[in-house]
Symmetry: C2
Subunit: 205 residues, 2 copies
DNA sequence: GAAAAGAATTGAGTTCGTTCATTTTTGAAG
DNA sequence: CTTCAAAAATGAACGAACTCAATTCTTTTC
């Protein structure tokens, strides 16, 4: 099972991902050539293409790892949400937004989101879209949980509202990464205003 | 004012836009080379680059014309909206969605939206983002109008809600163009469900 | 342990978007 | 009408992503 071939394959994958991750972050996705990554990972250009379908898919593999972490972190909030709807949304969205720029630059996010729209059939584009869909489900789960706990009106369509809230926070994040000058605080402030409007309507009573 | 130089410039711009529009639509954005467009428009490759910063910006110029039309059409709905909130939203969004594939293919939309995220500083990317922002404002105006007419609760933040609704319909449209197989009817059905949930909470009483 | 099969690596070659030094065209001045 | 300067057009050259025929490395078989 763990023959030489398997081991080498895993090792090369790791080296490529590490090299690409560091180079993209330090010098920018656009400034890095495939040859640079191949050299840093000590493989040939052709080999790199045996492991990832193209430059963009390599980026999406890196970004997907980040989204997986965020998805994990969000779980705790859904399990045990703050009693107020606005607070609960703020807590979950805070996790999403605050993790975002720890390992990835705005340019990397821009490129990744652009690619997931432009080339949605690529392996890691499919993966990224799946993860996005799971994030949406997580927001839906939060709304349902708030309803179950009696913090939100039970009559509203939790799934529909969860999707709306997720699509909004997603689009707000896109606007944020589109403007290099925009600070994270502005993103938080704007999203909070929108979620307050939604929370007021969702609240019991 | 209308010297030979001006006339030739306008004529070349028109020829380039027409050629690109037709070729992108008929054979796909990705399948068309800059040289193909230049040949069809009877200019050199270099000249094409004097008129548009790059291939993507040329596409965004074409898409922007489409968005301008949609924005115009939407105006009438805002001025004179149906009395029910869900109906009013359906009417406006129907205009947006139904116009979308008359002149543009899904691939063109995918590429255009991807580019507006990936390269937001390019001239027609800026233009496209402005138009998007005007569409958002149009939705906000509709909500405010419904409030003024007494069809929607006056206590909710019309601007925040308008943005949320717009971001949702935008994201739904992205999901639609990402899947070549998805019919327009599915997009309508899904969005209608979400808007129904929102409309119920927005309704007076 | 040698040999054959098959899997994976390699880098030179191809393609296409983009640039830029040169040439051509236009409009203004005398 | 001629001359000159500025604006615009041109296409050959460049750079980078991606491909593929030839080669090298693993594993399996006898």
């Amino acid at each position: 099972m763990a023959g030489l071939r398997e081991k080498q394959k895993a090792d090369r994958t790791r080296r490529i991902l590490e090299a690409a991750s560091r180079l993209f972050r330090d010098r920018g996705y656009g400034a890095i050539r495939i040859e640079d990554i191949a050299q840093a990972a000590e493989v040939s250009v052709g080999t790199l293409y045996n492991y990832f379908t193209n430059k963009g898919d390599l980026l999406l593999a890196i970004v997907s790892m980040e989204v997986e972490e965020v998805l994990d972190s969000g779980h705790a909030i859904v399990e045990n949400p703050p009693a107020d709807i606005a607070d609960a949304l703020a807590a979950l969205i805070g996790i999403y937004y605050d993790h975002s720029l720890i390992y990835l630059s705005k340019e990397m996010w821009r490129t990744a989101m652009a690619l997931s729209i432009e080339a949605p059939e690529t392996p890691f584009s499919v993966r990224y879209t799946e993860l996005d869909s799971k994030l949406a489900t997580q927001v839906c789960d939060l709304i349902a949980r708030l309803q179950a706990l009696g913090y939100a009106r039970a009559t509203v369509d939790a799934q529909a509202m969860g999707q709306v809230i997720f699509h909004n926070l997603n689009q707000m994040f896109i606007e944020y990464v589109k403007q290099d000058a925009m600070p994270l605080a502005t993103l938080h402030a704007r999203t909070t205003r929108q979620n307050r409007a939604l929370a007021e309507m969702l609240r019991q009573g």
